[in-house]
């Protein structure tokens, strides 16, 4: 019996398994992200969160389970991955089908505040600007699912906060489903509607951010989940 198509879901994954040799990196994991929801995935290094993102992006094979994504997801990686031999707008239009690619790229770049840099080479951009171009390149595809693999990790603190504002605004406007992989608890709380904590290849717990009246309390709860005790002395 074919499963009923889920019109409102950006992605539905059921029973995912991924193993490297004997170790299970993803262990029967299921996940559903509706369109317009911002989900953050927290977890210690090596818990499988990047593997999960790569599996959803179709970059990594899974050994069991199924992934239903109506359209190819767009990905923003930790590095901008701009092609140095293409101008800024050509980078954004990379793989774009249909007419007037330059106009579409220009619109996307204007949205991220770089409408004046269309014909520049990527090497002339700062780190934050390059990451904004990468974001424009993802959004111009009009994805149902946007995968963010620690895209702010390499940025300085102030640029990162600006990027948070920008991402929040753009996601509210385009309403894709978002999966953000991060190890920054503050970032997860400030951006996400829902936070998943991943441990040993499975989702260990789940928090809805709006239900939590006290962000500071959620912060320490999450830190504890990640193995950092709240009461630990700082020095």
């Amino acid at each position: 019996m074919p499963p009923t198509p889920d019109e409102t879901a950006a992605v539905t994954a059921t029973g995912l398994v991924r193993a490297y040799g004997d170790s299970l990196v993803i262990n029967r994991l299921s996940l559903r992200i509706p369109c317009g929801e911002f989900v953050a995935l927290l977890g210690e290094s090596g818990c499988g969160k990047t593997t999960l993102l790569r599996a959803l992006a179709g970059l990594d094979t899974i050994q069991a389970g199924r992934i239903d994504a109506p359209r190819r997801p767009a990905v923003v990686f930790q590095e901008h991955r701009l092609l140095p031999w293409l101008s800024v707008w050509q980078n954004v239009a990379l793989g774009l089908k249909g007419e007037a690619p330059r106009a579409k790229a220009e619109a996307a770049l204007t949205e991220v505040g770089l409408g004046s840099r269309l014909d520049d080479w990527p090497r002339t951009l700062s780190g934050g600007q390059a990451q904004r171009v990468a974001l424009a390149r993802a959004l111009v595809q009009e994805p149902r699912l946007l995968l963010l693999d620690e895209p702010f990790a390499a940025l300085d603190a102030l640029t990162r906060i600006k990027m948070h504002h920008l991402v929040r605004r753009l996601v509210a406007k385009h309403r894709p489903g978002v999966l953000l992989v991060t190890h920054d608890v503050g970032e997860a709380i400030s951006l996400a509607d829902r936070i998943l904590v991943m441990r040993e290849g499975a989702i260990a717990s789940e928090y809805t951010v709006s239900d939590q009246p006290d962000a500071r309390e959620l912060h320490s709860v999450l830190l504890e989940e990640l193995g950092v005790a709240a009461g630990e002395p700082v020095h």
Partner: protein, 282 residues
């Protein structure tokens, strides 16, 4: 969102670069003059020595005599004909050898299986100095045009092959992964990501290949021909026309230099995105 940092960073960089350029320019001119002083001096000494009769014109004619000969041969149309023949040989050999080297290099760069099958044989043939194959090539083709074109093609194909393979293998796998994320089809992936990424290396191969092409041509033409720059030299040897021989050597040198500058021009044109090949300020 307008970024304030662009406003202050760019002028700062510009003024620094401008300062560096004027500073360098002044020193550059003096050094340019200085570097040319010895060649010019040698040329003057050579001219004087030949005119005074210290060097026999059969050993080394005066530079002015070589110029005269060049003029005479240009007027008679012989120089243009022979140069044309040589250039045509070089171009056909380069086109054939370059295509073979590029296709094999692309195949090996992409496919591990092709690499296993082809690479060892190519490397074994490469171990032979290709000029040593000349007697064998003459047995195969005689001393006609095909022998010369074959030698050029042989010399050209190796540097192009090696640098194409290298260029493709050096491409950042993360960029290829990006191509998959952006839904590029195979052909688009090659055109947009793989070939541009391999281009710096391929162009280095082209520069090496131009040098070997001339080497192969000089050797192949000198062995036996009835037209071309090499024939001009051999013909002149029969009549002890040292001035013509010196002229052909100079022509070979000039062609080598211009081929190299064409390759550099290509690099600057095609690699303007690359920080090492920026067109600005040159």
């Amino acid at each position: 969102m307008n970024n304030p940092d662009t406003v202050c960073v760019i002028p700062a960089q510009r003024s620094k670069r401008a300062l560096g350029k004027t500073g360098r320019r002044a020193g550059f001119d003096t050094r340019l003059l200085l570097s040319w002083s010895i060649p010019v001096l040698l040329l003057l000494v050579w001219e004087e020595a030949a005119r005074a009769g210290w060097i026999s014109p059969y050993i080394l004619p005066a530079p002015s005599k070589v110029l005269e000969t060049a003029w005479a041969l240009t007027i008679s149309g012989r120089l243009a004909t022979d140069l044309g023949v040589s250039l045509l040989r070089a171009a056909s050999g380069f086109a054939i050898g370059g295509t073979i080297g590029f296709l094999l290099g692309t195949l090996v760069g992409f496919s591990k299986i092709a690499g296993t099958v082809i690479d060892r044989s190519v490397q074994m043939i490469r171990a032979v100095p290709f000029l040593a194959l000349l007697p064998l090539v003459i047995v195969w083709f005689g001393v006609g045009e095909s022998q010369k074109i074959f030698m050029v093609a042989l010399g050209v194909s190796f540097p192009i092959y090696i640098n194409t393979t290298l260029g493709i293998r050096q491409i950042d796998p993360k960029l290829i992964e990006l191509g998959r994320v952006q839904n590029l089809e195979s052909l688009e992936l090659i055109r947009r990501i793989i070939l541009p990424g391999a281009l710096p290396s391929i162009l280095t191969g082209v520069r090496y290949a131009l040098a070997t092409a001339w080497l192969a041509l000089v050797v192949a033409e000198t062995v036996g021909s009835n037209a071309g720059i090499g024939f001009l030299a051999i013909d002149a040897r029969e009549f002890l026309r040292t001035d013509v021989i010196v002229l052909t050597i100079l022509i070979y040198a000039a062609i080598g230099v211009s081929a190299d500058s064409i390759a550099r021009l290509l690099e600057r044109r095609l690699l303007s995105w690359h920080p090492n090949f920026t067109g600005e300020g040159r």
